[in-house]
Amino acid sequence: MHAMSLAETVAAVIREQLTAPDAVITPDTPLGADGLGIDSVGCLELVLELERRTGLALRDEHLTAEALATPAGLVRLLEQAGQN
């Protein structure tokens, strides 16, 4: 069994958050109201769960609306956390 990549982990955690688990998730799928419908409280849950799964701690300076807008943004955010 291979270790999950960050992208796979992000997609898996997003899928767990959704009430429609069959939704199509691409790196650029919007997480918010114009896409998967994850609101700010859902985003908090998502980010804290990603931190727990990956052991990475996010930092303020990398947090932007863009970073939290798509799966690809979350992957970049985690990669930046890993470089600290």
Partner: protein
């Protein structure tokens, strides 16, 4: 100069006398017809003429105090109205980590923020930063994030979580809907929309929370600070957050029912006329 508020504020009388003068005027029922009409339509909140007198006084006194706060020569007189609480339980909670100060849109605005800024706490405030009055103390320890900006709401929630995890203090209100989701409470003959953000942070981070309000008590502004007891840890997520909001709302509802002078939303009743009559 139009309106009673500017006239009283410019009278040169000591502030306590000005507030007393307004109380005397309130007792005459002057310009309270609109409040009486509102009271008839909201019998579960408003009860009779004594309620109207206190509500009117709260709007007028708030206007006079705001004028004092805006004037550097008279600011101190307004700030001397403040009675601070015993912060010992709050300070003890801070020793263990981040703490949530849950407030509400009640009582004279920004007094609580002033006190917390003066205490030089590592503070993150959910507020419209463009609306901050100049009389608040300048500080480099505080961060201001606007919960009403839809594009930034997720950033606000995550930044707040990181702030609490670092042992910071959050000042925010849960008595209005700020995002797409809200929790409704049917109470006092109407529906209230509460924000789920604070309980979500309290649950996920295990952060202790206090209901902290700056309220008119007589002619003084008293800050109350009461612990919001955390619900049982074995509850389901949504039930936990609802229980947390019930405890928060219980404290807010008490104020709504018992002290009309602290109902800030009354300023919105036909606000244009209030502004013309009171000059606020």
């Amino acid at each position: 100069m139009t309106g009673i508020v500017p006239a009283v504020a410019a009278s040169g009388l000591p502030l306590a006398w000005q507030l007393g003068l307004l109380r005397g005027l309130a007792a005459t029922g002057w310009r309270q017809r609109r409040l009486r009409q509102w009271a008839k339509e909201h019998p579960q909140i408003a009860r009779g003429r004594p309620w109207c007198r206190r509500a009117w006084w709260g709007v007028a006194a708030g206007g006079v105090v705001q004028r004092h706060l805006a004037d550097p020569r008279r600011r101190l007189a307004a700030l001397r109205l403040l009675d601070e609480p015993d912060w010992s339980e709050f300070d003890a909670a801070r020793q263990a980590g981040g703490v949530i100060v849950a407030t509400a849109h009640l009582g004279p605005p920004k007094f609580l923020m002033h006190v917390l800024l003066e205490r030089r706490l590592p503070l993150l405030v959910w507020t419209n930063a463009a609306d901050l009055p100049a009389w608040l103390p300048a500080t480099t320890e505080a961060t201001f994030l606007d919960p009403l900006l839809p594009a930034e709401r997720s950033v606000l929630m995550v930044k707040t979580a990181l702030h609490l995890r670092r042992g910071g203090v959050l000042l925010g209100a849960a008595d209005m809907q700020t995002g797409g989701r809200s929790r409704e409470r049917d109470s006092l003959g109407r529906q209230w929309h509460l924000s789920p953000g604070l309980p979500a942070l309290a649950r996920r981070l295990g952060a202790p929370a206090f209901l902290v309000l700056a309220l008119w008590r007589g002619n003084r502004v008293r800050i109350s600070c009461e612990r919001i007891e955390a619900p049982a840890t074995d509850m389901a997520e949504e039930a936990w957050e609802d229980a947390w909001l019930d405890r928060y709302w219980g404290g807010v509802e008490d104020v709504v029912v018992s002290s009309p002078e602290n109902l800030r939303f009354l300023r919105g009743i036909d606000a244009g006329r209030f502004r013309r009559e009171l000059g606020t």
